[in-house]
Symmetry: none
């Protein structure tokens, strides 16, 4: 599909690569758009009198709690595997 020498890509490979790159860039744009939305929500909240620092901590805490739960499930699963109880 590509030659292993470090010299050149086939024209088709270049095209293919370009498509991958462009797909990624489109996705990154979307991602950025959403990040902007998040920012907007915070600033809307702020202009409604809420303390964004507190809000950010709440969000962070809840995210951590979710992760902890996930991790604890994963641990259980790992136990099962280790003990051959699947």
């Amino acid at each position: 599909m590509f030659d292993t020498s470090k010299e050149k890509l086939e024209a088709a490979a270049v095209k293919h690569l370009r498509q991958f790159i462009e797909r990624i860039e489109r996705l990154e744009e979307e991602k950025k758009g959403i990040a902007d939305d998040v920012r907007d929500v915070y600033s809307e909240a702020k202009s409604n009198g809420y303390d964004t620092k507190t809000m950010r901590k709440i969000v962070a805490l809840r995210r951590m709690e979710a992760h902890t739960r996930q991790e604890s499930d994963a641990l259980l699963e790992t136990y099962r595997e280790a003990l051959g109880l699947l």
Copy 2:
């Protein structure tokens, strides 16, 4: 939003706050989904024989160039305004 005693939030304020938090969490989920998509594209590219590390560099480079170009454009715009050439 805080009541004057600064000790408690009105029930309505709590509800409102919760809605903000949830909007943010939904957006963050979407963002994560897209990040996962990006991952997938990279790994698809990899399984097609492309070097993802290089690809990442390309993406970073193009992002930088876009950024630089934007700044140049903004500067040009500023000059135009300053010179009344809009």
Copy 3:
């Protein structure tokens, strides 16, 4: 202490900088040494019949729990600040 032009550092400044670098490098070496110790403990545990994957998950989970607790304390603190209850 240093001149802002990007041209040269005084000999004294160079020496000072070198000392900072060397302190850092010493610390990094220590850190690496400890990381090696950790690896050794895992492999000792493994050779005693324990499943290291499970162990790693346990460690990760406990670390997360600690973080969650910390985060939750931080949140409380932030509430206090936001509400002027310090």
Copy 4:
């Protein structure tokens, strides 16, 4: 270490496991302590006017060079062995 039914760990094994975990956690704490020290050195350097980003690059570079040199030495050693020149 696991009993034959693969369902439970002996109390002694649990204790043993706990000890391994705790040793690891102690080591990780030490590691974190040192990482903090590194941070401190950087910020001390910064407050003395040095550019930490550059410093990080220097440290990385020297580490790489050390690594490269080690590899060359190892290679040389390998040659010697292969040629019976020890």
